[in-house]
């Protein structure tokens, strides 16, 4: 069909968007998500609040470093939970799956592989990790298949999974604690050796800053090429400077946490550095779990925004009928979301058992609640169709900050559960409230 192409329309071309007076218009012209800003604000309130209550301990490099390591598994799983919830499903089984996959990976490296490869074989960690990811993918595919093709609601399928996989974890481990993990595998969990160190951390920080600046510039170039509206220059510069400061600040904090003296002595010995009388401060830097979580966030964010699969997941959440009529294979797409979730559970399980240097049958208990809460606090709507990967990671940071802060304040475990439960319900209530208001 021949379409007479008119020249692109009038004067809005290449003009920077002028804020329309109000603060709202100002923020909108920068295209920064206001919800994200709100979440950062909430996080700052929590941090400052706990810091005051704990007399300055909360914001110490030591606590922040530990917080960052503990946050990683929740963040990793939350990025997958976003897609599951966006497609109008839920996965209640991730905690039990983490227990099952973690136990399986622990048994393989502690009891099965040593029989043939011996202890601490250089390939052990790769084999174990791949088996873990595969197991996660299979479990996810199985559950997703029942949801999409058999038609059992995901709530029920994964509620069943919550019991089944926990039971499997128990029978696999016979209730034991399986330890120790392969020495290379342990690096996945962070700890004194599982970190980038000072120089490496600065290099990663530098790369991140370069990526931020490159991203902003190339986005502007693309808009100019197609003649789309531009963000105001001050906003672009502000985003670049703000982003880089945040990254470099985080690296600085991670580099301000030093190895404990006994470990530092060992490391000094290994590197042949003489131990000085006044002691030696070796910065830990960014831990591998955090690096993995950031990598997962980037990959999942990319999948959600820049790949067909992500677009299909969002369209199913927005209008399943429209997705179907658009020719999308909606059932297989749903199966894939559960598979991705399973793989991410595998990654989180690896990080967790590596950090604990052991697997127990109770591993991951209740973490489904943290993961779901992280996604919801991060702006994922349980009605489906809405959610962002970076938001979920921020949500995970909020949840882990709450938990870590409560531990620091010596809040009893039952009370911690009460708080997490209330926060989960409150987050959904806020979500429902705002969406109802914006519908009017």
């Amino acid at each position: 069909m021949s379409i007479t192409e008119l020249p692109p329309k009038d004067a809005e071309q290449l003009v920077e968007d002028v804020p329309r007076g109000s603060l709202k218009g100002l923020i909108r012209s920068t295209e920064i998500d206001t919800r994200m800003l709100g979440m950062v604000g909430l996080l700052l309130v929590i941090w400052v609040g706990f810091n005051i209550m704990s007399g300055g301990t909360f914001l110490s490099p030591r606590n922040l470093w530990n917080l960052s390591v503990q946050f990683a598994p929740v963040a990793i799983m939350a990025t997958g939970m976003v897609l599951v919830i966006v497609s109008r499903n839920i996965d209640l089984s991730v905690g039990s799956m983490l227990g099952f996959v973690g136990m399986a990976m622990a048994l393989i490296q502690a009891e099965i592989l040593p029989n043939s490869l011996g202890f601490d074989h250089p390939l052990t960690w790769v084999i174990v990790l791949l088996i873990g990811l595969l197991l996660g993918a299979l479990v996810g595919m199985f559950q997703g298949f029942i949801v999409a093709y058999v038609g059992v609601p995901s709530f029920i399928v994964t509620l069943g999974g919550l019991l089944v996989w926990r039971g499997v974890a128990w029978s696999l481990g016979s209730g034991r604690t399986v330890a120790p993990m392969d020495s290379t595998f342990q690096l996945l969990g962070g700890g004194s050796r599982g970190s980038l160190g000072e120089v490496g951390s600065w290099v990663v920080g530098g790369i991140a800053c370069a990526a931020i600046i490159f991203g902003l510039i190339s986005s502007r170039r693309r808009r100019i090429k197609f003649g789309f509206r531009l963000r105001p220059t001050w906003a672009v510069v502000g985003m670049g400077v703000g982003g880089c400061l945040a990254v470099l600040g985080a690296v600085w904090v991670m580099n301000s946490y030093y190895l404990p003296e006994n470990v530092a002595r060992q490391v000094a010995e290994e590197r042949g550095i003489p131990w000085p009388a006044e002691g030696l401060q070796i910065p830990l830097g960014i831990s591998y779990p955090v690096l993995i979580a950031i990598g997962v966030m980037l990959i999942m964010g990319f999948i959600a925004n820049r790949r067909r699969f992500g677009r299909y997941v969002f369209s199913i959440g927005g209008n399943p009928e429209a997705a179907e009529l658009g020719g999308i294979n909606t059932r297989w797409t749903v199966v894939k979301t559960f598979m991705v979730m399973g793989i991410l559970v595998g990654v989180a399980a690896a990080v967790t058992i590596a950090r604990l240097n052991a697997a127990t049958s109770g591993l991951g208990t209740l973490s489904e609640l943290y993961v779901i809460a992280a996604a919801v606090i991060g702006g994922t709507s349980l009605a489906g169709g809405i959610g962002t990967v970076p938001g979920a990671v921020l949500g995970a940071l909020v949840m882990q900050s709450l938990q870590s802060g409560m531990v620091l304040m010596r809040v009893d475990a039952p009370l911690q559960d009460i708080v997490v439960g209330i926060v989960l319900v409150a987050a959904v209530a806020v979500d429902v409230f705002f969406r109802r208001r914006s519908e009017r």
Binding site: K9, R308, R311, S315, G318, N319, L325, I328, G385
Partner: protein, 261 residues
């Protein structure tokens, strides 16, 4: 009845039933290039179900569809689109949370060489087609949930005409629109017709039908009452067919008078 050209579409002996209810019963229907063939009837007459079998959104229990004289099997919406059949659904079938370009290319996204979504190219294409269909359209980056009824309709229409449709099914295309937007859609339908596209138009608006359609098929309770050509019948006769369910030659003067009320 019609021997102008090989029909673009021919549907023979179509049957669809839900439970014990015959939604579509032994229906024959055809469409030639450059023709507007209206499908009218009351609620539950089976119009939407019939066109859904053509769009791949509904399986027929029996019957055969021919496109350009060739028997085809349309199992799902992808099959229909591959045959050049595009459909504008009554409820528009838009993903509310996705922006206009995303909806326009839903299921047929443009990608870069690496297989990544090419959002800029999709937005660019959407801007070009909207400049033609609805020059006032501006919201290219907001979810369509924020758009007005007319703008949403524009997105649904743009999606159907962008992909070089040869057969266009329009299920109540003006139901949600104001007067000026309705006129725009009518003009668009006329223009598409001159480009040789065959259009199946479902409408409750008898003026739309009388004004635009070359032929009109009336359905009642899943069956075809009759097919009439433009100029053969009056508007009242069409109304009588819809309500009473008799072909025009079988209608009595008193029945027509009753309709005229």
């Amino acid at each position: 009845m019609n021997d102008r050209a090989t029909p673009l579409v021919e549907m023979r002996d179509m049957n669809v039933s839900f439970g014990g209810v015959h939604a579509v019963e032994n229906v024959n229907f055809d469409l030639v290039p450059g023709e507007i063939h209206a499908l009218v009837g009351g609620n539950g007459a089976g119009k939407s179900t019939l066109v859904k079998t053509l769009a791949g959104a509904q399986r027929a229990d029996s019957g055969q569809i021919y496109v350009n004289g060739e028997p085809v099997s349309i199992e799902n919406p992808r099959d229909a689109k591959a045959l050049g059949i595009e459909t504008i659904y009554q409820n528009l079938a838009l993903a509310e949370n996705i922006d206009a370009p995303g909806n326009m290319f839903l299921g047929r996204e443009l990608t870069t060489g690496m297989g990544n979504l090419d959002d800029s190219a999709m937005e660019d294409a959407t801007r070009k087609i909207m400049a033609r269909l609805n020059p006032k359209f501006e919201n290219f980056t907001r979810p369509v949930a924020f758009l007005s009824g007319g703008q949403r309709q524009s997105v649904a229409i743009a999606r159907a005409v962008h992909f070089n449709a040869r057969i266009l099914v329009m299920d109540e295309p003006t139901a949600a629109l104001g007067p000026s937007e309705t006129e725009q859609v009518r003009n668009l339908i006329r223009r598409l017709k001159t480009e040789g596209i065959g259009i199946i138009l479902i409408s409750h608006d008898i003026h739309d039908v009388f004004d635009l359609a070359d032929r009109t098929t009336v359905m009642l309770q899943g069956r075809v009452v009759g097919t009439v050509a433009k100029g053969e019948v009056t508007m009242d006769e069409i109304l009588a067919m819809i309500i009473i369910g008799k072909a025009p030659q079988d209608l009595t003067q008193s029945e027509i008078a009753e309709i005229r009320g």
